[in-house]
Amino acid sequence: MSTQSHPQQTPSYTLTCRMSHEAAALERLCQVVRIRGFRIAKMAVESVLEGTDETLDIALTIQGARPVAVLQSQLEKLHTVAEVKLASPALAHAASRIA
C-alpha cells in the first residue's frame, strides 16, 4: 500500500507571475516552487515584448500542503519577478497583520 498522499487531496492554487525574461528565469521560478514544498501541476508561459524589455507571463497551477502565502513571498523576493498574484486566494494568515 502506498503511503504517498494522493495529489488530489493536496490543496491546489493558481498563481500568475510576471518576470523579466533573463537567462534561467523559469528554472529559478520552478526551483523556488519545488524547494518551498509545492509541485507544479500545470504551467503556461508567454513571452511579451514591452518596449525593449521582454517579460514572461506565467500561469501556474501548484499543489502543496504548506501555506501558499509563504511561497508567494519567496517568489516575490526573486530579483527578476515583478509581480505574483494568487488567482485562487488561499486561506490567508488571518492571525497575522503585516505592517
Binding site: A24, A69, V70, E76, S96, R97, I98, A99
Partner: protein
Amino acid sequence: MNGAQHILDTFHRHSIQTVFGYPGGCIMPLYDALVDDVRVEHVLCRHEQACALAADGYARASGELGVCIATSGPGATNLITGVANAHRDSIPMLVITGQVPSGLIGTDAFQETDVLGMTLGIVKHSYLIGNANELPAILEEAMALAQSGRPGPVWIDIPKDVLLAGTTPTPMRQSTPQDHSCPNLSGALAMLRAAKKPLLYSGGGISLAHAEKNFREFAQCSGLPAVVTLKGIGNAGKHSAYNLGMLGMHGSRAANRAVDECDLLLVIGARLDDRATGKLDGFAPNARTIHIDADAAEFNKLRDADLALRGDLNAILSGLSAALQEAPLAISEWQKQCQTSRTTGGFQAADNEEPLAPITGPAFIRQLSRVTPDDTVIACDVGQHQMWVAQQYQFDHPRHHLTSGGLGTMGFGLPAAIGAQFANRQSTVINVTGDGSFMMNAQELATIRRYNLPLKLIIMDNQCLGMVRQQQELFYSNRESQIDLNDNPDFVAMARAFDIPALKIERTDQIRRGVETILAYNGPMLLHVAIAREENVWPVVQPGGSNTDMIDETRRTPADNKEQVA
C-alpha cells in the same frame, strides 16, 4: 577598455581594494588586466573554496562587500560551498567567474559547467553575460543588489570572449531605492506595554542592517530581558544587564527558560531557525509574537506573527526607543526574575583549580576571553569548539564573532580569519578551530605565510569529530561511527612546515602562558591545545526536541556502555 578592464575600473569606483581569487583558463583576461592594476589587491588563496570563505569573512568583519574570483568549471564548482555559506547567512558578496567562450557554451567544452544552473539555489541573484555591452550595467546592479535589503551573494558568470571584448556601456537599469521608511509602531508599542513578561530575541539581522548602535540603545532604554541567536551574539555588548545569552540547542538554561515563560516575543533580525527554536510546538508557548525584519518572506514562515513589521531596522529601533524613553515599560519583576535566572542558569564553566589537570574546552575559551583585547575578532569553525566559543567568550560586538550559522561549514574558520585580517589589518584576529575543521582548509596556512598575516590559530584537538561523537553518544546509543581522528598529523610540525611557529599545551597551568605567547608574537602563530576526547557541550537539546527538554552532564552515558562501530 575591454570587459576585464571594466571590472577593475568598477572596483576602483566602488573603493573595492581587496579581492580573493584563483586564476585559470577562462578568467585569464581578468588576471591579465590585474597585472597593470595597482589599486586592487588580489589575495591568492590556495583553493577556490577558501577564496569564497575569505571574501565572506572579509564582508562579515568589515560590513562591506566581499569579492571572490575564479575560473570556469572546477574553479566555479569549488566556490560553491563558500557561496552557499554566504547565502545562508545573508553575507554581501560579489562572485565573478570566467566561463568558456560564448560560442562554446553547451558544447561540453573543456572546463565548462552550467554555473548559472547549478548555483540558482545558493545566490540572491545570478547573471550569465550575453555580450560585453551588458557588463557595465549588470556589474553595477549586482553590487547594489548584494548589499541592499537582505544582503546576499550575487554571481556573475562571464564568458572569456566577453572579458576580451570592448565595452560600450548601455544605460543603467533603474534600481529600486533602499527603503528607509518606518512602519507604524503603535501596534508594537501597545503590545509591549500590555505584556508582563516581554522578551527581546535578536539575530544576525542587526549587524546586517548596520543597526548595532540603535539596537543597543533600544535594548538599554527598553530594559527588556534578551536572548540572542548564534549570529546575534555580541548584539547587546558584553556589559548588558539583561542579556541571557544564546538560546536553542546549546543555549543557556536562562535563555531557554525565559523563552518558555515570556508572554511576548519581540523578534528582531532573526529567522526562527530550528537550531534556535527547537521543536516549534513547544517554543514560546505562552507568547504573542512581534516579528521585525527586512525580509517579508521570513514572516509566518515557521511561526505565525501576531504583528509583522517590515522596514529599515535602524528606523524601527530608533522609533521604538524614542517612544519608550518617554514612557518606560513597567517590567521590574520580570527583569528581576531574569537576572536571578541568569545567575543560576547562565553559561558557567568552572576554572579548573588543579594546575596539572587536562584542559577542558569551556575553561580554555573562558581564559581566552579574559586575555584577549575587546576588539579581537574570533573566526570559528564548526563543532564543539564553535559552541564553547558561543557560550563562553564575551563578545562586545557582533562583527567580532565570525561563525558559520546557517550552513555550518567545517573549514570556514581559517579562510574567514584571513578575510577578517585583510579587513582589519591592525586587529587581533584568531581562528579558533577543531582538529576536524582545521584539516578542511589547512592549505591556507600557505596564504597566511605568503602575506605574513599576524593571524593566531588555536586548534582545540580532541582527536575526533567531537560534535558527531557527542550526538552518537547521546542519541545513537553510544555507537561511534567514523569519528576517530587519532591519526591526526603533528600540528606543530605542520605549521612549522609552512614557516609558522607553533607550540602545544595540554595542562591547565599552560593555558594563560600559551595564549599570551601567541598574542605577543609579532606574526602568525599556532597554538595546539590538547583536550579530552570525551568532553561534551552542555546543555544540549536533542535535535527535533523541545528547548525545555535540555540535557545536562548528569545524564551522560557511562563510558563502559560504549560500542565501537567501524
